[in-house]
Symmetry: C2
Subunit: 250 residues, 2 copies
Amino acid sequence: MNGDAGKVYLVGAGPGDPELITVKGLRLLREADVVLHDRLLNEKLLRDLKAEIIDVGKAPGKHKLSQEEINELLIEKAREGKIVVRLKGGDPYLFGRGGEEALALREAGIPFEVVPGVTSAIAAPALAGIPVTHRGISTALTVVTGHEEPGKDKELDWHALARLGGTLVVLMGVGRIRENTSMLLDGGLSPQTPAALIERGSWPDQRCVRGTLGDIAERASSSGVKSPAVLVVGDVVDLERYLRQRRIAI
Amino acid sequence: MNGDAGKVYLVGAGPGDPELITVKGLRLLREADVVLHDRLLNEKLLRDLKAEIIDVGKAPGKHKLSQEEINELLIEKAREGKIVVRLKGGDPYLFGRGGEEALALREAGIPFEVVPGVTSAIAAPALAGIPVTHRGISTALTVVTGHEEPGKDKELDWHALARLGGTLVVLMGVGRIRENTSMLLDGGLSPQTPAALIERGSWPDQRCVRGTLGDIAERASSSGVKSPAVLVVGDVVDLERYLRQRRIAI
């Protein structure tokens, strides 16, 4: 605990494997007085901490805090002079709403610092054997989220996405997979474009379902893929057959 | 060291700050018999290791190994039964040529594993105060490299990039900044589009030069920005004035 003003660290927890948090992230967790975390985080990260631990996520049956309530809680705890870690899945500034929390802290005059993390947009494909870029195959990576809130944001130009080529990664890729793959096909991508869906990337029960842009929605449905899952579209998906990880204990 | 067959770990070192490597990456460095690393890595990561340390990068005046020579060295060391860490800046599979090394290892029958890292494509902007996505401002991130090798790869469609909007991050963004910003302007992006160049993201001497798509090349030149630097183009750059990190020691 600190004399007068506390500080908030917006920390990326990485994709799920507790060893894929950064050294700095783990150090701050151990030093923190308070940890606010989302659902879907690996509970192993929260073991043996001295901090007060607050789940602000959507645990079933529990009250989920709104973004405004989370912001207020961060400010309140910091004003008590505490070192606060706001632990977020993946990276705080890539679809993590970390920017909104940072703006709220800045407006309240609370010192804060962002600690980047490993994003599942790159790690989930990698651990399934799919490099998101590869010489001669793909020289661009685009990351979007599958759950756009209509009206809240500028609409994504899925036709431009289709034209850009390269590799497309859709975070939260399973809920609206039919709509999203349809828009890419409408935009001109071939239904033969390789596609894969990685469920629970970096967790022990990680699973990869492969197919094409034309059939991945159907395969996802018949395989029962559930959230969280990352959709990857592009020729790099073909590398999976060579690069998928064989689990070898050494 | 291992009985018969060794193993190669393709490990992302993160953007530069030695605390931004993953917990797993650091553990493997400490366990390794051999570490092959690139230039531009923070030397602090290589301190106090028991491993043989081999610099395969472009250290001035020294012989730089070709990709094929690196692949052969990885295979040779693993065949000696050694645990080998191939340490790469950022993430091994995002413009890190990790996929090529993995393919070579697979062909040689060497067990390997990829350990994702924090990419400077997201971390460098974040640490300069620029979230690469932000609700209401940008819902897509595209990452490319500024140093395309003509003829070696499919050409990037910079016009489609311009049309997509969202946030564009150009790794190795300074060498060809004039050509690249010109193509984006030709593609239809406004010269008023906010742009920033982050030099040595996450290092103690990190520096951010802000401007617009129309003037960032000139500003980079007059400020003497050198490689490595990450170019960020998009409206999220305007958040930098609110979210830039004030260094406060706690």
